[in-house]
């Protein structure tokens, strides 16, 4: 079975500094991996997805993630945090081909201070 582990439950950064949210995955075959963001009292929004094409994936709002098979990692980064980035971030793996049946990590809450 597929699974993901988000290594930090909370990450705190200052506005304008880099963001790193860590995720490791476990998969018996080449996985499809995603990062979703959930703002308070709002729905889930897809930030980016990896589907066995380019290993460096660029998403919305300046986020990107790099798929590293040797490290089984899919860390999310952003060069410069903005206050509006404060939210809950979920690393997600697709259990089946087709990106639909999703297994969510436990989430990382990103806090951004002025």
């Amino acid at each position: 079975a597929q699974s993901v582990t988000q290594l930090d439950s909370h990450v705190s950064v200052s506005e304008g500094t880099p963001v790193l949210l860590r995720c490791n995955y476990s998969s018996s075959y080449s996985p499809s991996l995603f990062w979703y963001v959930q703002h308070p009292n709002k729905g889930l929004q897809l930030l980016l997805k990896y589907t066995s094409a380019a290993t460096l994936v660029k998403g919305i709002n300046g986020f990107e993630a790099e798929f590293k098979k040797s490290e089984t990692s899919f860390h999310l980064t952003k060069p410069s945090a903005h206050m509006s980035d404060a939210a809950e971030y979920f690393c997600v793996v697709s259990e089946v081909v087709g990106f639909q049946k999703l297994v969510f990590g436990t989430g990382t809450r990103l806090l951004v201070s002025p």
Partner: protein, 113 residues
């Protein structure tokens, strides 16, 4: 992209009662799913809603507690039956076609008292 509407957006229910949550998609989709997000927790898949047949439930979830219907390609319902305070969660509908991303509704915030 698909727009997913869920009703109700929130509700407060008495223990022992049942609540039916509706999920409407604005376009035909192949797959629909129901997830639960307990307070402060991540999302857990409850079941896959299959059009015209019984839903496929994940381990730990049963049809008697969470009956699901999907009469057509754009609509599904999830019922939370015989509710207890432990059922207080956000319930989310997800939908998409085979090769698109999974789109999510805004969720239904359920509080059982």
């Amino acid at each position: 992209s698909a727009v997913i509407s869920q009703k109700p957006s929130r509700d407060i229910c008495q223990r022992g009662t049942s609540l039916t949550i509706q999920c409407q998609v604005d376009s035909q989709v192949t797959m629909m799913f129901w997830y639960r997000q307990q307070p402060g927790q991540s999302l857990t898949l409850i079941a896959t809603a299959n059009q015209g047949s019984e839903a496929t439930y994940e381990s730990g979830f049963v049809i008697d507690k969470f009956p699901i219907s999907r009469p057509n390609l754009t609509f599904s319902t999830l019922t939370v039956s015989n509710m207890s305070p432990e059922d207080s969660s956000i319930y989310l509908c997800s939908a998409g076609t085979l090769n698109t991303e999974a789109f999510f509704g805004q969720g239904t915030r359920l509080t059982v008292v």
